[in-house]
């Protein structure tokens, strides 16, 4: 079964689903940041920024897959 994506419509302007998913994932990631800091996420990796980017990509992928 093919997954269908619905477009966000802001006052008649269609916004591509990928933009909505990217923005929601970014918002979720920013909300998660204090938790990551508390858990010491950065200390677990040699390149923390790449690990954070990977986390963002994972969240974006999961959102696209399940919602």
């Amino acid at each position: 079964m093919t997954h269908t994506y619905s477009e966000l419509i802001i006052d008649g302007v269609l916004v591509a689903p990928i933009v909505s998913y990217a923005a929601i994932a970014l918002l979720m990631f920013f909300l998660l940041r204090p938790l990551l800091h508390f858990a010491g996420f950065g200390r677990l990796f040699s390149n923390p920024s790449l690990a954070e980017l990977s986390l963002y990509v994972t969240m974006f992928g999961l959102l696209t897959l399940f919602f």
């Binding site: 940041r33 800091h37 950065g42 390149n47 923390p48 954070e52 980017l53």
Partner: protein
């Protein structure tokens, strides 16, 4: 007092062809991000792929946090600019001259906003002006295209930002917090060594203390960029900001110590001589010394928190001082410059001048973020022909009809890497020239798919670009940006009026450290406008001392206003409002006596009153000036 000494091991950086390895890594990152942005834009068939490459050139900063912060403000400002473009085009598209006047007003407003902000916030204000220039002005004859142009530009910008973020993350662009921590630690050592020299009774030039204050406050925009660096970025940014604000407070306390012995001399005529004075001065000195030690410990704690990525024990805000009058005058002048050039183009009736007019707004907008707008325009005059030449060589000698992406990548490499190496140089002139040349080269080359090789279009674009830079410079000769002397006059006038108490009530919501930092940013601007003029620096520092001392005193008296010493505190506040050193000292003695009678602690308020009396005393100030110069 022991200064915290840290042993730093000086390592000689590896150098290749005159540039350090970190500079080469930065240049290669810029080239790769540029290619990635162009490739993604071609693949997504965006209308303006060159905007994505230009975004990469603009976000070309050596560390990841700085690039990401600028990217965030770039996207935010583009959204504001697109909305303003739609509003301006919607309301004024058929109004002829009025449209140009409205665009001039928008340019002026953006320049005003840029003048009231600093760092990337000022850049965002300038970019709001630039976005309107690139969308509304370029589509001046086809307002129905404003929205699609805005969306296309927004999409290209997002691709550029993503390319920079991805390349910086994958290739492990360095973090900025070690650099900030190192600079703060060096400044901490310098300030504590100054405090030690004051305790030893040695003299230090006022230009040295003003320079330390300038260096500390100049870190503000860089500290703000730490926020975006990682998940610990917020904590590091807060820690660095607290350290910076506490360093200003420490420097003030050291200066206060330098003031006291001078005022204690019996020749001082304006301070009332009475039996309590030596006690009060000794108590004031003791309080300042203990506070200095406490501040030293707080700065060390904040620096440790910065290095460990933890929240500091004490958190401070860093309010920025900006002179509204200077920002408004700059805004009006920029609006007049833009309207003059627009009127010239309308009168000339040349075709496709909207490209030149949009470039005029770009130069005016970007110039507001530079220390000297006219110098920036002069660099733009130099950068435009260099960019035209580079773009011409690339287009007609290197590429010359090719349309394959790998060839574009190879052809761009020497220009992009070379100019990025120029950006990485410490010389601000060469760095600005490199950045402008890179941006203009990519704008004039305008890589598209398929690539256009029409020499007619290229020549017209080059001519208009050079004409725009020259006309902006000419307009700035006719209506020059605010001179350093005028800026200095306005800043000193505000500093003097603040000493009179006008600014005290305005900043009641700030702690005394935050208010001191606010005043220190004014000294920074005075030092920037007045150069190394000793008398100007001396007056600026004296105004700083007085306003900070009075503000601290008001804060101490606020703490007493609800207790049994409220009456004495009210008398002291009235004495402070009169700005008379003798009266303030008498009030300090009265408060001290009242507190002693009731066995209540009021030493800190008494010490603050004595310090205010010393700072307000003109003869004491002169003595300090002599002592320090």
């Amino acid at each position: 007092m022991q200064v915290n000494g840290t042993n730093t091991i000086e390592t000689r950086p590896l150098v290749f062809a005159g540039f350090s390895v970190s500079s080469w890594a930065f240049a290669i990152r810029v080239w790769l991000a540029c290619l990635l942005a162009l490739y993604a834009s071609f693949w997504l068939q965006l209308e303006v792929p060159s905007s994505a490459a230009i975004t990469v050139a603009i976000l070309a900063l050596p560390t990841r946090g700085q690039g990401l912060e600028k990217a965030g403000f770039r996207l935010f400002a583009t959204a504001i600019g697109v909305a303003a473009s739609i509003a301006i085009a919607g309301f004024f598209s058929q109004t002829g001259g009025l449209l140009l006047a409205v665009l001039g007003v928008w340019v002026g407003l953006c320049v005003y906003a840029a003048g009231m902000l600093d760092g990337n916030r000022a850049y965002a204000a300038a970019l709001s002006c630039i976005t309107v220039a690139l969308i509304a002005i370029q589509q001046i004859d086809s307002p129905q295209q404003v929205f699609p142009t805005g969306v296309a530009r927004g999409a290209a910008l997002v691709i550029g930002v993503l390319a920079v973020a991805f390349i910086n993350d994958v290739l492990a662009a360095p973090d900025y917090h070690p650099v900030v921590a190192n600079r703060l630690a060096v400044l901490h050592r310098q300030i504590m060594s100054y405090a030690e020299s004051v305790l030893r009774g040695e003299t230090t030039s006022v230009s040295v203390t003003a320079s330390m204050l300038k260096e500390v406050t100049a870190l503000r925009p860089e500290i703000a960029s730490l926020h975006t660096e990682s998940s610990s970025g917020t904590a590091r940014s807060t820690a660095a900001r607290s350290a910076m604000v506490d360093l200003v407070a420490t420097l003030f306390l050291a200066r206060a110590l330098a003031m006291l012995p001078a005022a204690a001399r019996p020749t001082s005529g304006t301070i009332i001589q009475d039996e309590h004075r030596p006690d009060l001065l000794a108590m004031c000195r003791g309080r300042i010394e203990s506070e200095l030690l406490r501040k030293d410990a707080e700065v060390r704690g904040s620096l440790d928190a910065l290095r460990n990525g933890a929240h500091p024990a004490v958190s401070h805000r860093a309010p920025l001082y900006r002179c509204r009058r200077i920002a408004a005058e700059n805004g009006v002048r920029a609006a007049i410059c833009f309207t003059l050039i627009a009127a010239l183009f309308v009168t000339a009736g040349w075709p496709t001048t909207e490209v030149a007019l949009s470039l005029v707004a770009v130069i005016i907008g970007l110039g507001t973020t530079a220390p000297d707008p006219r110098k920036f325009t002069a660099i733009a005059i130099l950068a435009t022909p260099v960019s035209c030449l580079l773009a011409g060589i690339l287009r007609y000698f290197v590429f010359n009809g090719v349309s394959e992406f790998p060839l574009l990548a190879i052809g761009l490499a020497p220009v992009v890497i070379g100019l990025a190496l120029l950006i990485s140089l410490p010389n601000p002139l060469l760095s600005s020239l490199g950045r402008l040349s890179l941006v203009f080269t990519l704008a004039i080359l305008a890589p598209t798919n398929p690539q256009s090789y029409d020499p007619n279009v290229f020549l017209i674009t080059c001519t208009l670009a050079c004409l725009a830079a020259i006309l902006t410079f000419a307009a700035q000769i006719l209506v020059p940006p605010l001179s350093s002397n005028r800026r200095l006059e306005l800043l000193l006038r505000e500093a003097r009026s603040d000493r009179g108490g006008l600014g005290v009530a305005r900043h009641r919501h700030l702690t005394s450290e935050e208010a001191a930092y606010h005043d220190a940013t004014r000294v920074q601007q005075i030092a920037a406008a007045g150069g190394a003029d000793q008398s100007v620096l001396d007056e600026a520092m004296r105004c700083f001392d007085r306003s900070v001392a009075v503000r601290r005193c008001n804060a101490e008296l606020d703490d007493l206003q609800d207790g049994p010493l409220a009456e004495a505190a009210e008398i002291a506040r009235a004495a402070l409002a009169r700005r008379d050193a003798g009266t303030v000292l008498t009030a300090a003695a009265a408060l001290h006596e009242a507190a002693a009678r009731r066995s209540l602690p009021a030493d800190s308020a008494c010490a603050a009153l004595v310090l205010s009396a010393v700072a307000l005393s003109p003869s004491a100030s002169e003595s300090i000036g002599k002592r320090q110069s």
